[in-house]
């Protein structure tokens, strides 16, 4: 059922890819000079692997233009000369986690291996969010150079705000505990910050960590968290997208994002009524992307700033994730409508757009008789409906109780 995840160095002649029993496809991550250049999901329902010639033909069709584009950018960069020297900045990496010590250790190990020379200093914070035991504290104790912060109030955005209060870096990068960073993570982030000191935030590529289960394969095949392999800049308006920036999901994902810390402080941090865990697990990333753009600062998507995300393992978990996407999006929209009436037209239009889009997804899956797809599409639509009717207010009430209960 799973796919084999393979890395392909485009500078070298490709080798054949064999499949193990039970594997039914290949997830191919292509790199050029170490930098992610493209990703392809290749179904092999008969379980046969790919010969070197097949890999080569596929790489040529899918990735050759990406290589040429990267080389064109490099040649232009060299021709136009280095931009003026940039004062190196400091970075805080905050990992918000709850009761997942093993995954946290895996992430910390991947962070320890990075070359930190792009920043004048890099500190790593682990925010332990309302833990049920001391496993996280013990996991952190064994790692040098990692600071432990306890946030007893349950909720991802409580944890993110705790990180914001504890951080000292000029920039603050957030990671979820279910990711592992790519070897180029810090280098690409440092380069992006140096090139765009005016940007208020950065998002990066999210690749699959493994594709072992049907749910993981389905999630990645439906687009996953992928936002492509081209650097992209976002500002308050976007030609050709009249719903921008309300449709903030195109900017990236909360599991891999970074902000100018002072800007986050000015904006008042994350909205603790979003991303509250079980009742409303989502929307916080959309909300902060939207507020950064509305503050007038651009955001930059940089594909080299990449992480690998462990996707949901079971179909039931995945269905629930789509439900939370609908719920979180609509709760976030409810908040936008309340706090930013200037864009009321776009906020109304996106509800209409989103509703029709998801209804069409439900209709397509139903007409084609795809039950699993129908379940996903319906879950997202149902989540959206629930989010539309008062979920943000309910969540605000809940988060107030949490805040006061612990304080």
């Amino acid at each position: 059922m799973g796919y084999r995840l393979v890395e392909l160095d485009l500078a070298k002649p490709p080798a054949a890819i064999g499949l193990e029993p039970g594997q039914s496809g290949v997830g191919l991550l292509a790199r050029w000079r170490g930098r992610p250049a493209g990703f392809a999901m290749i179904p092999r329902p008969d379980g046969r692997g790919m010969s070197a010639a097949e890999v080569s033909a596929l790489a040529e069709a899918r990735f050759a233009h990406a290589v040429l584009t990267l080389r064109a950018a490099a040649e232009l960069d060299a021709l136009w000369g280095e931009p003026g020297p940039v004062a190196p900045t400091s970075l805080t990496i905050a990992v918000c986690t709850k009761d997942r010590a093993a995954r946290l250790a895996r992430l910390l190990a991947s962070l320890a291996a990075l070359d930190r020379s792009g920043f004048c200093s890099v500190e790593v914070l682990v925010v332990d969010n309302a833990p049920s035991d001391d496993a996280t504290r013990r996991a952190v104790a064994g790692v040098a150079g990692v600071r432990y912060v306890l946030e007893p109030r349950a909720g991802l955005d409580f944890a993110r705000n705790a990180a914001l209060r504890a951080a000292t870096g000029d920039y603050l990068a957030y990671l979820d505990d279910d990711v592992v960073v790519d070897g180029g993570y810090l280098r690409a982030l440092a380069a992006a910050i140096a090139a765009r000191p005016d940007a208020g935030g950065f998002t990066g590529l999210v690749l699959p960590f493994r594709l072992d289960t049907e749910a993981q394969v389905r999630f990645e095949s439906r687009g996953g968290f992928g936002r492509g392999f081209r650097p992209t800049e976002f500002r308050q308006d976007r030609f050709g997208n009249r719903l921008h920036p309300v449709g903030a999901g195109i900017l990236g994902a909360g599991c891999n994002m970074c902000f100018d810390r002072r800007l986050l402080l000015e904006l008042g941090g994350f909205d603790e009524a979003l991303d509250t865990g079980a009742p409303l697990p989502g929307g916080g990333d959309l909300d902060i992307f939207y507020r950064v753009l509305r503050s007038g600062r651009p955001m930059v998507y940089e594909p080299g700033y990449a992480v690998f995300h462990e996707h949901r393992e079971t179909l039931e978990q995945l269905r629930r994730q789509y439900w939370t996407w609908g719920l979180g999006f609509m709760a976030y929209l409810a908040k936008c409508r309340r706090t930013d009436p200037e864009l009321a037209g776009r906020q109304r239009a996106i509800v209409w757009w989103w509703g029709l889009d998801r209804l069409a997804a439900v209709a397509r899956a139903a007409l084609r008789g795809r039950r699993t797809e129908l379940g996903f599409a319906w879950a997202e639509l149902a989540g959206g409906l629930q989010g539309m009717f008062g979920e943000y207010d309910r969540s605000r009430a809940r988060s107030r109780v949490i805040r006061e209960g612990v304080a």
Partner: protein
Amino acid sequence: MTESPWEILHLDLAGGVAEVARRDHGLFLVLWWGALPLGAKALLPAETPLGRDQLLALASPWVADQAWARARGPGAAPRAGFDGQPHHDLSLGDAARLPVLERLAQAAGRSGQGADRLAVIVCTRGRPGMLEACLASLAAQDAPPVQVVVVDNDPAASARAVAADRPGVTYVHEPRPGLSIARNAGLAAAHAEFVAFTDDDVELHPAWTGELVRAFDTSGADAVTGLVLPASLATPAQRAFELHLGGFTSRFTPLLFDPGFLEETREAGPQVWRIGAGANMAFRRASLAGLGGFDERLGAGAAGCSEDSEFWYRILAAGGRCLYEPRAVVFHHHRRDWRGLRRQYRAYMQGHVAALVAQADRYGAPGDLRRIRRQLPVYFARTALGAIQTLDGWRLRLLAAEVIGWTAGLQYLFRPGWRRRPGVAPGSRPVADIGAAQHA
């Protein structure tokens, strides 16, 4: 879509690092590398300013595309597939080794060709003011053409005052209405190895004639078309046409349409309109022998349009080749008001259906009629759903004009008299011959 007029900015990156300052109005940014147009992008005020790194990010995919498309040397271009997209043929080895900027520099040199083998035909009808600007841009060509033919299709001969006494201009009065008739009259009056057509609502880039001649000489193609950029984006209707509907041609890399393009598409219907636009097209005279000129049942003033693409169809069917070369640039004044744009779209669709009928009658490829029956209604439905989803009322009104045009076009299917009428001059080669020659 009711903001102030947009600015059109042409920026040459070959000179080194450039920047675009902040604007408080929309900006249509056209990037160039010397004589080579690289690409164009619409920017809202909030998307400016652009610094070094933003321009680099914007330009690098375009630069890569140029390096690939022009890597096979002057006059050679990637082959077009049935949908007008290039056949992908970049190998990983080339992608890894191609000297990108070197190729770009080679392709970006100005054409050194004279245009004394080129005649330019401008057909006009009742727009003497625009014709004046068009003729002025012709007079300012780096390589002056050997002859300029102005065909006045206005029964009142309104262009006579503007064109008749200009040096180097042949004035032809063709009172029978119809763009095809006017173009055929121009062909008859033009005496040169190459003939280029443009319209009275067009202004020409100074290198236009030189680039056309270079394209013919380096490629050996039978027809050349070029890039049509907007001359102004002052009104919402002009912006809708250029920025949302794609304008006339918006591809910046060359493309070769050969008989294989027709062969590939017998079933699906060859998308010959992707070859170019009538406002910027040229032909090798010798290749037209036996083709019989433009179909006088088609074109503005008759069925509506598509006399140009139907003509390219015949060239390809006769074994000829058409090269789209975006280095040959013209600037078109799009319709200023919504009514004009809707009229244009209605005529486009009616003419398009008429041309599909004419092509099907001539060559019997099943794809053309299938497009009328199936592809176009599907396109209407998709467009309607999309416009409803994005709440674009203007698109729905424009779509209504297209559906009316399509409905009006259906008449040609059911008019045996129209279908039997010879649209092209006698003496053209019979269809069977062309088919036989091609398959021989």
